[in-house]
């Protein structure tokens, strides 16, 4: 029996001819990273061992969650990180002013390549599978182990193949495809499994949308999300100075084993909104009969804070104003996205509409700062989780959507289709 792309990467990195689901392998990692919340414990692990990191070029430290530091303890966490980087003279570190959200920054800067094995002390590390890498989130100790030894242990997952066919409807992007998928299989629908996204629709899906889809694999319990590299991948890499000789593009064998193959007709999918308090509570816009008034809309995060997301938001916000008493918070995910948006005049549109724009950070996505919801408030967000209290008060409610729907909802003051506000 053949192997899936995930199996192929795990077998190559553990120097075996083949691996089967359930096997446990100790494999060489190509990139290990942590953020300002998770890094201190990983750093402690390395320090206690009394060693240096295994390879300076294969370790990245990204202070993105609470930066610029929101309070004293977050400043102290960042300082642990910065001191470690300075002492070890580690190249892959970004200070405020250069930093972006890890899962947006690393692919954008050409750090992620097909065939890589990547571990990150952050659950959304699965994002990077969009480039045909095997990437999964772990605890700080696991990543500390990888920092020190260059290795990590894996239980080889079974794969589920999701085959998308058909043309995407208007306003439907990667976010809608993945929310729809999670709605179909549930938040534990891919527990322990590799989610492989395939089909004609995916072959034509822009890289940014692919990143959005793989980002949310964890929201279905998945160990990783992955897409076979193709022309779109190679083009994306070329733009970042990564040539074809720099990586191995694996593909699943035609006779690879899948525990399930799920076929999805994309023509059935309209823009999605996930209701509180789970990403699986996805509904199409036309299924929403009630008026859902909102207090805040957030456009950003590692799910939807890229330039394409901001362009779509701008196309909806152009010549529109944010509704009275509604806050619209826009956070470009990286400095490059920020600069590009500024250059294209998107900031003018946002500010004309009455939005506030922040420097790149995770911000309100995890209820950290920069837009916390008050008791009983309702928010709509382009991020990936709407658990109880995720964006602030335990009694607040959070809806998830694409940037287009979030922007339209900010204008209408309630959850609405972009078609209703685009003039």
């Amino acid at each position: 029996m053949g192997m899936s792309i995930s199996q192929k990467i795990l077998s190559a990195k553990s120097r075996q001819d083949s691996v089967s689901p359930g096997d446990i392998v100790l494999a060489d990692v190509d990139l290990a990273f942590a953020n300002d919340i998770t890094a201190p414990i990983s750093i402690d692990f390395v320090k206690k061992l009394g060693v240096d990191v295994f390879d300076k070029g294969k370790v990245a430290l990204i202070p993105d969650h609470f930066t610029p530091n929101k309070d004293i303890s977050s400043a102290n966490q960042c300082k642990i990180m910065r001191d470690f980087v300075r002492d070890g003279d580690l190249p892959n570190y970004w200070e405020s002013g250069e930093v972006g959200i890890e899962h947006a920054l690393l692919p954008e800067q050409g750090y992620i390549k097909p065939g890589m094995l990547i571990v990150g002390a952050d659950s959304h590390t699965c994002t990077h599978g969009a480039l045909g890498a095997f990437a999964t989130g772990m605890g700080s100790t696991d990543v500390g182990f990888a920092f020190a030894t260059g290795k990590s242990w894996f239980k080889v997952p079974e794969s589920i193949k999701f085959v998308y066919t058909g043309r995407r409807n208007k306003w439907v992007g990667g976010k809608d495809l993945i929310l729809y998928t999670i709605g179909k299989i549930g938040v534990a629908g891919a527990l322990y499994k590799s989610m492989e996204f395939a089909g004609d629709t995916i072959k034509e899906l822009p890289m940014e949308d692919r990143l959005t889809m793989c980002n949310m694999a964890i929201e279905a319990g998945g160990k990783n999300g992955i897409i076979e590299p193709d022309e779109i991948t190679f083009e994306y890499l070329k733009e970042r100075g990564v040539g074809e000789g720099d990586y191995t593009a694996y593909k699943s064998d035609p006779d690879a084993y899948y525990s399930k193959i799920i076929e999805i007709d994309v023509e059935d999918i309209e823009p999605q909104v996930a209701f509180p308090h789970l990403p699986e509570n996805a509904k199409g816009l036309s299924e929403i009969k009630e008026d859902i008034k909102i207090d805040q809309a957030f456009i950003g995060s590692c799910t939807n804070g890229r330039i394409g997301d901001l362009r779509i938001a701008a196309s909806v916000l152009k010549n529109n104003k944010v509704a009275k008493y509604v806050r619209l918070i826009i956070i470009p995910a990286t400095v490059d996205v920020y600069k590009q948006a500024l250059k294209e005049g998107l900031f003018d549109i946002f500010m004309e509409a009455g939005a506030v724009i922040s420097t790149p950070t995770c911000g309100p996505c995890l209820g950290g700062y920069m837009g916390i919801l008050a008791d009983g408030e309702v928010g709509i967000s382009t991020s990936n989780r709407n658990f109880v209290g995720r964006m602030g008060s335990k009694s607040s409610a959070l809806y998830l959507s694409s940037p287009a729907v979030a922007a339209a909802s900010a204008v209408a003051g309630k959850i609405i289709s972009p078609d209703e506000v685009v003039k």
């Binding site: 446990i24 392998v25 100790l26 414990i41 692990f45 206690k48 061992l49 060693v51 659950s123 772990m138 605890g139 700080s140 100790t141 696991d142 182990f145 020190a148 030894t149 290795k151 242990w153 527990l191 322990y192 319990g221 160990k223």
Partner: protein, 164 residues
């Protein structure tokens, strides 16, 4: 490797919040964490258990947050291992990393009663109920993870690996 002790039985979905409540997460001191192990599900837990005893539970043991304090607290309390119908993914991983042996067996978890005497052979995965004279098979612990446990977790394993 063999484990022997009394079973303490709990239900499904024992989450990391009851294993070690968030109010105690301001420390990572093992002894301190152990004092509060399972406190929110069983007040007397730490008083009644003896070194070597086991936790037996239902499905999805260790669900919830990724806090590594949960397996640490269990291990430091003196519990030798956990038997459950299934484990949540990150807890599963963290347990081996922290050197806490865990065994998956629906049969055993269904059958074992509170305070039964249990013996487990980690190599074969055979669970013996000495009180009832019954035997159950657990999913065997893969060789690699046995090594992790023998090294006292990921830290010890890292040391070995780096010494090679």
């Amino acid at each position: 490797m063999k484990f022997k002790g009394k079973a303490w039985v709990y239900g499904d979905n024992v989450d990391t919040d009851v294993i070690i409540p968030a109010r105690y997460l301001n420390t990572s001191d093992e002894a301190e964490l152990a004092k509060h192990c399972m406190e929110d599900i069983d007040e007397n837990f730490i008083k009644k258990i003896k070194p070597g005893d086991m936790i037996v539970a239902g499905y999805n043991f260790g669900s919830g947050s990724s806090r590594e304090h949960a397996p640490i607290a269990i291990k430091a309390s003196g519990i030798s291992c956990v038997i459950a119908k299934s484990f949540a993914r990150i807890f599963y991983r963290n347990s081996f990393n922290m050197g806490l042996p865990i065994f998956e067996s629906v049969e055993a978890a269904e059958d074992i009663k509170d305070t039964d005497e249990i013996e487990i052979d980690a190599d074969s995965g055979i669970i013996k109920n000495l009180t009832t004279n019954k035997e159950y098979k657990s999913t065997p612990i893969p060789e690699f993870m046995q090594e992790l446990i023998a090294s006292n977790g990921l830290f010890g394993y890292a040391k070995k690996l780096l010494d090679k």
